[in-house]
Subunit: 162 residues, 2 copies
Amino acid sequence: MKIIAIDPGYERLGVAVMESGRPETVVYSTCFQTAKKLSHPARLAAVQKEILRIIKTYSPAALATEALFFSKNQKTALAVAEVRGVILALAESQGLHIYEYFPAQIKIAVTGYGASDKKQVAQLVEKLVRLPKKPKYDDEYDAIAIGLTFFAHEQRFSTASQ
Amino acid sequence: MKIIAIDPGYERLGVAVMESGRPETVVYSTCFQTAKKLSHPARLAAVQKEILRIIKTYSPAALATEALFFSKNQKTALAVAEVRGVILALAESQGLHIYEYFPAQIKIAVTGYGASDKKQVAQLVEKLVRLPKKPKYDDEYDAIAIGLTFFAHEQRFSTASQ
């Protein structure tokens, strides 16, 4: 089973395409950035176009992403929500199943601890999956961690139903 | 010149297609609602599909909409931001020019007063535009008010440049 995992962000977006297995494999990962000189709608449209390209290239069955997040910086939270809206509508219209996880769920799935930091997440990500190349950006690690959360939940549910 | 004006909302979306003239004419208006039983991504995809249908039907040159808004209810603000993201990316990818206005700008353009209430806006909307039918919902009036703001600014700018 192949999935696309996305860590939504406004300036940078972490994306990972992952395949089930023991361990799971990262088929493709990237940190997609939009040019600052672009207008706000043009940046949103660029995200839409790039995610559609990746979906068309890898045909994932599901999208795993981070759930709505609250922030003290409401401007940032709203900009990320706009990106999330674009991604969710696109994945839905492309027929993907959609799974959303809260930050603490992701950290627990990867490190066993809900308040782990970015470095701990990155270290465990490297141990837990087969990586074709070492990710360059935090955002890529975050996307892979979201994908791992999907597979961890998936496994637990399929074991529970046996 | 034809435009589409949208009052973004999560449960209900006000939409108006308007044409320039003296006075401006409302070519089409609606209050688009998404079914509560749908999943969150399915509701976003339904908004995307309906706005695309209206754009394809009327071929507006521009989108006028309400700018990012802040709210004490952050959950509502984030849900509306997701809808806004869908609309902005769609309008951009369809080649529309995009104009955003803050609530006070819209009220000033329609009533001359930045703190006017919904009833005052609705009353003046009825006087200012040619309406094919009386709008049923507040959201439709709000969308028409956003469209009027576009035309008011447009007129001022074109007069200033003469």
